[in-house]
Symmetry: C2
Subunit: 88 residues, 2 copies
């Protein structure tokens, strides 16, 4: 399966990079403070469910920007979920 890099796809990769990076400050804050009570557990679970669906959409649509971005988002928010469950 080949990836053809187009300008539009580059915007998608940029968007995916920023969305993915956005989870990092939250992960850092949760790890540092071990305080997660203001984070909504429902939000985290639905978000993980939603980005998994976006990942499936990316696979069906052969959209590499969506596939790669959502895999990383799932991993980072998955770790935050672990902190939320450990330090509620």
């Amino acid at each position: 399966m080949e990836i053809t890099i187009t300008p539009v796809l580059l915007v998608g990769f940029f968007a995916g990079a920023i969305t993915t990076i956005s989870a990092i400050p939250q992960l850092y804050k949760s790890i540092k403070t071990k305080e997660t009570k203001d984070l909504s557990l429902g939000m985290i679970i639905l978000l993980l469910f939603g980005v998994t669906a976006w990942f499936v959409y990316g696979v069906l649509d052969k959209d590499w920007a969506l596939i790669i971005a959502n895999i990383i988002v799932i991993i980072v928010w998955g770790i935050i979920l672990g902190y939320k469950l450990k330090y509620k």
Copy 2:
């Protein structure tokens, strides 16, 4: 501009709906408790920047699932940002 509904696009709309809905429990929690200190300001700002880029990607790619989903996400997380700034 017409929308042709395909099964793949339906998965995209489903993903968009779940991702969008995921912000609602967070908005509810922030409004109810007026406590937002565990939420990372950097995460919220980067997330809003990122979903705006996804919106642009959706427009360039004429991808209605991305366009509609990201407009709603921008609005809901925008309100949460307001609460974060008001009740830090």
